[in-house]
């Protein structure tokens, strides 16, 4: 039985930071159910060491790292979940809701075409705006490797037809 203070601190962390972590998990997985699964997996791992994690400079950095490393390693344990798709992407349709759904699908497809590590780098570097060194530390890589991966991922996203369709006409490609 964990001490009440420990559990209270963990509960506060879960309540305060889960939404932000869940957004990252969704960007990685592209699916709400799998994002929640990833988040809970990471939180459960963190809870096992919470007494130490809580004392660290940034408990969120620890949990975030677990989210990303778990995500990158998941393909091994759940390799059968890799389902290559030959489906052609649908184009955005009219209407606010339909457009939002189409845009979401377009982003999911574009991110899905990146490797897991590249997707993780994109989310950390360009969405969460984290420095290269921190991304490298989070992913157990080197700053040089992260820069190369980020640059290639960015080039791939810039050329991605699904994402290009979301840029307003007249905007520089």
């Amino acid at each position: 039985m964990a001490p009440p203070d420990l559990e209270r601190g963990f509960a506060e962390f879960v309540a305060a930071r889960s939404d932000a972590l869940l957004r990252s998990a969704w960007l990685l997985t592209g699916d709400a159910g799998r994002a929640e699964d990833l988040l809970q997996t990471a939180l459960a791992k963190a809870w096992r060491r919470w007494s130490a994690v809580e004392r660290a400079d940034s408990p969120e950095a620890y949990v975030r790292r677990v989210v990303f490393t778990t995500y990158v390693s998941w393909w091994r344990r759940r390799w059968r979940a890799e389902t290559p798709s030959g489906q052609l992407p649908e184009r955005p349709s009219q209407g606010d809701l339909a457009s939002a759904v189409a845009a979401r699908d377009a982003v999911t497809r574009a991110l899905g075409r990146l490797s897991r590590r590249a997707r993780a780098v994109v989310v950390l570097r360009y969405v969460e705006d984290r420095p290269v060194a921190e991304v490298a530390e989070l992913l157990g890589s080197t700053p040089g490797a992260v820069k190369v991966l980020a640059s290639r991922a960015l080039a791939a996203l810039r050329a991605d037809p699904d994402l290009l369709s979301l840029v307003p006409e007249g905007a520089p490609a």
Binding site: L22, R23, Q40, R48, A103, V167
Partner: protein
């Protein structure tokens, strides 16, 4: 398209993500389940040591010793299950007490003691039989992340036939009914092993890549239906593994795919998986 455009587009795409009714309870439940699985693995480790102290040889088919053979050792009383769990919870494998020199024969220093050590020894043995000359880069790195799935699993770099890649081995309990149809939708081949094992194999292309060189992998799952045991062997062409300070901390392949075939053939991976499935005894 600027970095800011990409950031905006990506962030705008995140849908509303309503939380589950009680996320905290779900997380704590998961953590408890993981703890129970860990305790059961450690308890089985204690059983193995008691068996070893009793002079038993835990051997798989073919007579390969999996436990500690200690032929001159006197019998030890079997502890109650609660005593096993209690004792195992208190000590790490490396800190497990040795038999007293005055009453027990000392086990061979090379004899594998823990579940991980037995699996590692079995992997090296199977590897030598299936691929003579194949070399692991070092000791297998057991991954804590496998335990979430109730698995025991490890990873290491391997060189064979002039190619370098990564081998991952894992063992877990399943329902014994796993087939290609239930495990993978396409490209899976199912066959039967010499001991009635069900062999599922699939060449896979992972979604990681570097320098445009694809990640190619061979995945073999051997199912022992009666024991409800699954052994998975994955061989791919990734030549780097992340290096974290702790061997139990999320070791995984990283960059450095060669684009070439994995260092082992499908036949060799099957042979290794069959060999391990014949020997592995999970709690």
């Amino acid at each position: 398209m600027t970095e800011q455009d990409i950031r905006r587009i990506v962030l705008d795409a995140v849908p509303p993500l309503p939380p589950p009714p009680d996320r905290l309870a779900a997380v704590l439940r998961r953590a408890r389940q993981q703890r129970v699985r860990r305790a059961s693995v450690t308890a089985a480790f204690a059983v193995t040591l008691v068996a070893a102290a009793s002079g038993l040889v835990l051997a798989g088919p073919g007579g390969s010793p999996l436990g500690v053979a200690s032929s001159g050792a006197p019998s030890a009383p079997s502890p109650s299950p609660s005593a096993l769990v209690s004792a195992s919870a208190a000590v790490s494998p490396s800190a497990f007490p040795s038999p007293s020199p005055s009453n027990h024969a000392s086990p061979s220093p090379a004899a594998p003691r823990t579940l991980e050590e037995r699996l590692a020894a079995a992997v090296r043995d199977a590897l030598q039989r299936a691929a003579t000359g194949a070399q692991l880069a070092g000791d297998l790195r057991f991954q804590e992340s496998f335990t979430d799935n109730g698995e025991v699993g490890a990873i290491q770099l391997i060189t064979a036939a002039g190619r370098t890649g990564t081998i991952t081995v894992a063992a877990r309990h399943g329902d014994g009914k796993e087939t290609c149809a239930s495990e993978v939708a396409a490209a899976c081949t199912q066959s039967t092993g010499p001991g009635g094992e069900r062999i599922l194999s699939v060449p896979a292309t992972g979604d990681g890549s570097s320098d445009g060189k694809p990640n190619r992998a061979l995945v073999v799952i051997v199912v022992r239906p009666a024991e409800k045991l699954l052994v998975t062997v994955i061989v791919d062409n990734a030549t780097e593994i992340t290096k974290f300070p702790s061997a139990t901390e999320y070791g995984m392949e990283s960059t450095g795919y060669t684009g070439q075939l994995p260092p082992l053939t499908l036949a060799q991976a099957k042979k290794i998986a069959l060999d391990l499935a014949a020997k592995v005894e999970l709690p």
